[in-house]
Symmetry: C2
Subunit: 197 residues, 2 copies
Amino acid sequence: MREGKIFVVSGPSGVGKSTVLHALLQNRKNLYFSVSATTRPPREGEEDGVHYHFVTVDTFRDWIARDAFLEYAEYVGNFYGTPRKYVEDALAQGRDVVLDIEIQGAIQVRRKAPEAVRIFIAPPSWVELERRLRSRGTDSPEKVQKRLLRAKVEFQTAYAYDYFVVNDTVENAVRELEAIMTAEHCRPDARMESMSS
Amino acid sequence: MREGKIFVVSGPSGVGKSTVLHALLQNRKNLYFSVSATTRPPREGEEDGVHYHFVTVDTFRDWIARDAFLEYAEYVGNFYGTPRKYVEDALAQGRDVVLDIEIQGAIQVRRKAPEAVRIFIAPPSWVELERRLRSRGTDSPEKVQKRLLRAKVEFQTAYAYDYFVVNDTVENAVRELEAIMTAEHCRPDARMESMSS
């Protein structure tokens, strides 16, 4: 059986990552999208195990102690993490796993799962990213400028990623993501084992 | 403009590499297939600059001295080499370049053009490779066994390749080659430059 692989996908706020990943899932039904654990309380309509695994701070701390996370972080007083178990179960079934996490998390995953493939999704230009952030209409002009600045800072770390997908159109971005997934399954290690006889 | 990339494609005799590369060229018209220089005399129907660049031993020696080859080798008393110039011209035009060369040559290219992407084309199994070699009907049983043994020796070096494409069907092999080419154009270096503003 073909082994599953981990694909870490990061990208700045406003780049359209969720839309691209949603479209990718339509083409590759067998993908497992990792569900994060969090200590924040569920919002209206959020289901445990679907949107997040909702856990207590004690449980979260216990999982950290047992090295049960591929990565974790704190954000505005709440903890978020990627539990190893679900990822490993999916890989064992031969499914590819997508981790939608930000850059700090991607660096942690690199340490715990060095074989993971890291993909950075970038906007076609800074002007276009600004336009997308403004057009969402959810942020004040100051907040948009702050997000843009953060995006430029994050961008400096994108050299550490294996691939750099430009989200000019969703179709192109999905086509490139699929090509990357297909290509990464052509790496020698896993394949050569099946030819050893 | 998108920069061109070099793709080195190797594989054992009988694996069906020519068929796969021919099919690939149908899908990617803009590919440049490198034409080797050789000191062997042209055969019936072979055109200079199309099948080979036919050169004298003196010219070949001169080109070696001027470091004008990406790789070269001797085979049954004749010299064969990949001239840099045509490859560099194609790259400068933004075309991807395919070098169809054997493993020794691939190792030389790695030294002279470390950014080249190396792809090994493998048979689905040794039994199938033997079947393909026999079915060509061009080799004696002893020659087939010799080719098989050489293939197994070459296979040991396939770990040094970036990708490993199994030619189970031509369609699958071409699909994987195209995915690899698309994915390799998503590498950060070239792309990040275009986003620096």
